[in-house]
Amino acid sequence: MSKKFILNRRSVLKYGSAGAVTALATPYFFTRGALAEGENYLNAPKGDTVTFGFNVPQTGPYADEGADELDAYKLAVDHLNGEGDGGCLSTFSSKVLKGNGVLGKKVAYVTGDTQTKSDAARASAKSMIEKDGAVMITGGSSSGVAVAVQGLCQEAGVIFMAALTHSNDTTGKDKKANGFRHFFNAYMSGAALAPVLEKAYGKDRRAYHLTADYTWGWTQQASIQKFTEEIGWETVNNVLTPLAATDFSSYIAPVLNSGADVLVLNHYGGNMVNSLTQAVQFGLRDKMVNGKQFEIIVPLYSELMAKGAGDNIKGVYGSMNWNWTLPDEGTKVFVKSFGEKYGRPPSNAAQTAYAQTLLYADAAERAGTFNPCGIVGALEGFDFDGLGNGPTHYRAADHQCFKDVLVVKGKEEPSSQYDTLEVVEVTPRAQVEYAPDNEMFAGGDLGKCNPGA
């Protein structure tokens, strides 16, 4: 085994022990952490560039969403550095970004693969912070991962700009001072959907829930149940399905005999594509129960899911953070420059990723520093417009954005493969707002901003 070492054991011993002694005796009086002179925060940019970390799932079940987010991040970097057509910089209500980088520094970026696993995501974010000197991490696609990375950024002392994460917990019990979320949440989905469902399906309905068995599924199910019960619906049953499930037929068969006339699918991604397809194949939507047409609801929609489920989503209600068909200027400009670069319209995950990058850059510019505490100060209570969602407010109490929520429906006659969803109603912000200490968000503590030094 150790034959190869025996040949030069003298030198190995000599240099080896010498090296070990040197390494052990290395004094620890050198600077702690990566502090630059004068700037008292972690990873203060030294040269003429500032580094952002884009941490998205590139493999695993949410890889499609991740790829779309990454494209949007790259587009945002182009626009910040003055390449391309500048996109939303022209429509953004804050006018401090000039397309010459941020605070005079060109934006560079590093990318990483979260594999949709908290562990891998944290490893990748850590390498961005420790090796590449990133001052800001952004990304997401699973609420569990977003919560884990947000916690890491809080401990390490950099800013986390959450992209696609819909669980109430991200800005609820797991909220952190260094973390910010632009995307909407399960509570808002419930608040926006309930009135539309009441109008479409009436007050007297019996709902059956199939729920993905993890944090996001639970908070979404609880939110939908709360709001539908407020309009008079009855919740017949809530069945938890394993996240890894691909065959839902054994879960769907009991729905037929339960006396329920609405099926709520608290599923996302591939889960939703499978469960919806199987529910339709079982003929649920052609059934009459209690003298009413049987209906299916998918509270959280994404373009990629809609594409995967094909014809089955026609007429099915759900909610979204943003849609590329919106008529406002910010949306038009963003869709145009995204389309020109990648040849397809952006998804709502891409839009939130793009908006978060611009919001961070703008906050740094307004604060005059990349110091996380400066950024937190600039983003808390910030009101803005022109990024596609209409007037938006970043609430200081929990770092959640408040804006209009879209209720959408699967289009009956799609004109193209991207035109799958139609906006039924734009629910005004006031209707989806809640107090920071709402019971569904209680228990968390923002703590103090951490500059990492």
Binding site: M1, F5, L7, G19, A63, D119, E130, S143, A148
Partner: protein, 403 residues
């Protein structure tokens, strides 16, 4: 020295040297150069090298010596992590109580799983351990959520009891006041070396773990384990009951895994359920085979190799490729980027898979065998031993292919 033969002492000192000098060895390229991308000397990755090294060393005690292939070692990794985070939540951020608890709980857990699984051998044993690991994963993921916080992962919250937490105690994992996250950075010329407390904590534990495994390999107990691998039936006929030995090996390797899991949480105070998933169990099998099963150093090398690909290759993107090849004419640049594109970024597992295939096909003994062959090449020794084996008559003749 330390009860080791002269040869082993040198070997051990060599390993100690490698571990201690890791922050320098892993930074071969100066900061700012194009190749700095391949530097791996940052705290998180170095910690992972040491931790997964411990995991693989422990796995090798079971797989390398007894030949029992466990597909469920990730369960112990997860149990170790949860133990440590619970100690943070209840006591304070000192890692010692957690690590002790991690080793104890994973040992008990291994005793339970081993007692049942070791009633079978071969593929049935593998399947049983796999089933237990998947059960643990599902329990952690969705059933025992009050204990594990499900998919989000167990973390420390500000309102946790933390009864031993004093006013001026560090608010991150520490070893009696030495904060794991802190490092000293030294700039020499263009090079930057990061000496991280957490890494050295893991490294010292890894060296101890390595020493223990070295002693086990050289002990009569280790010989007994090898005998089980060679021919268990013959062992039975000589009147020896192999099960206590295999169970002991299983529990020891489970405790190593628990220690590794505990250290993961000691470096980063979070325990996630996916740490227990079967892919994590499969990973340690790959590490061991890639490095060289049954060798002392192989599993550590394999662990380093896989973690390096996962963390360094997955971060190379097209932008960086364009930067590297920017000196070439446009057409050639585009072509090279096109060629390399599938193997970097999200394609890191493809590259790793190809390398794994190459290693298994051409170096069945793993990376260690590759190293030995290279060494022989340089020293002019031929691949096969030139001296004939002693007492050739008493060795079996090579069997013909078709019997």
């Amino acid at each position: 020295m330390l009860g080791l033969s002269k040869k082993d002492t040198f070997f051990f000192l060599f390993v100690v040297f490698l571990t201690m000098a890791t922050p320098i060895i892993l930074q071969p390229f100066p900061e700012g150069s194009a190749l700095a991308q391949f530097n791996a000397g940052y705290p998180d990755l170095m910690q992972r090298f040491a931790i997964y090294g411990i995991f693989a060393i422990g796995f090798n005690i079971l797989f390398g010596l007894t030949g029992y292939l466990s597909f469920g070692h990730a369960a112990f990794l997860g149990v170790g992590s949860y133990s440590v985070v619970w100690m943070y939540k209840l006591l304070n951020y000192n890692v010692v109580p957690g690590l002790v608890l991690a080793i104890i709980t994973s040992g008990l857990f291994a005793l339970l799983i081993g007692y049942i699984s070791l009633r079978r051998s071969g593929i049935y044993f593998s399947i049983l351990t796999l089933a237990f690991a998947q059960m643990s994963f599902n329990l952690a993921y969705s059933v025992l959520t009050p204990l594990t916080n499900g998919e989000t992962g167990l973390q420390v919250y500000n309102d946790d009891p933390q009864i031993l937490l004093g006013a001026n105690h560090p608010l991150g994992p520490h070893f009696f006041g030495i904060v794991m996250q802190d490092s000293a950075k030294i700039n020499v010329g263009g090079w930057q070396w990061t000496f991280n407390n957490g890494y050295y904590f893991c490294a010292i534990i890894a060296v101890i773990a390595f020493y223990l495994s070295l002693r086990i390999f050289r002990s009569p107990f280790g010989t007994m384990l090898r005998a089980i691998k060679t021919n268990q039936t013959r062992m039975n006929y000589t009147g020896l009951n192999p099960r206590p030995y295999t169970l002991a090996a299983f529990v020891i390797s489970g405790m190593y895994a628990g220690l590794a899991g505990g250290l993961l949480a000691a470096m980063d105070p979070l325990a996630g359920a996916e740490r227990m998933q079967w892919t994590a169990s499969g990973e340690v099998v790959l590490m061991t085979i890639l490095g060289g099963a049954g060798t002392l150093m192989g599993p550590v090398l394999g662990a380093g190799f896989i973690k390096y690909f996962e963390n360094i290759f997955s971060k190379i993107n097209d932008g960086i490729l364009h930067h590297w090849f920017s000196a070439l004419p446009d057409g050639v640049e585009e072509f090279l980027v096109f060629i390399f594109h599938p193997f970097i970024g999200k394609g890191w597992s493809l590259t790793l898979g190809l390398l794994f295939m190459l290693v298994v096909i051409f170096l069945p003994g793993g990376l260690i065998e590759g190293g030995r062959r290279l060494g022989n090449l340089f020293t002019g020794k031929s691949r096969k031993p030139t001296t004939p084996a002693k007492d050739p008559e008493h060795h079996p003749k090579p069997a013909p292919h078709v019997a």
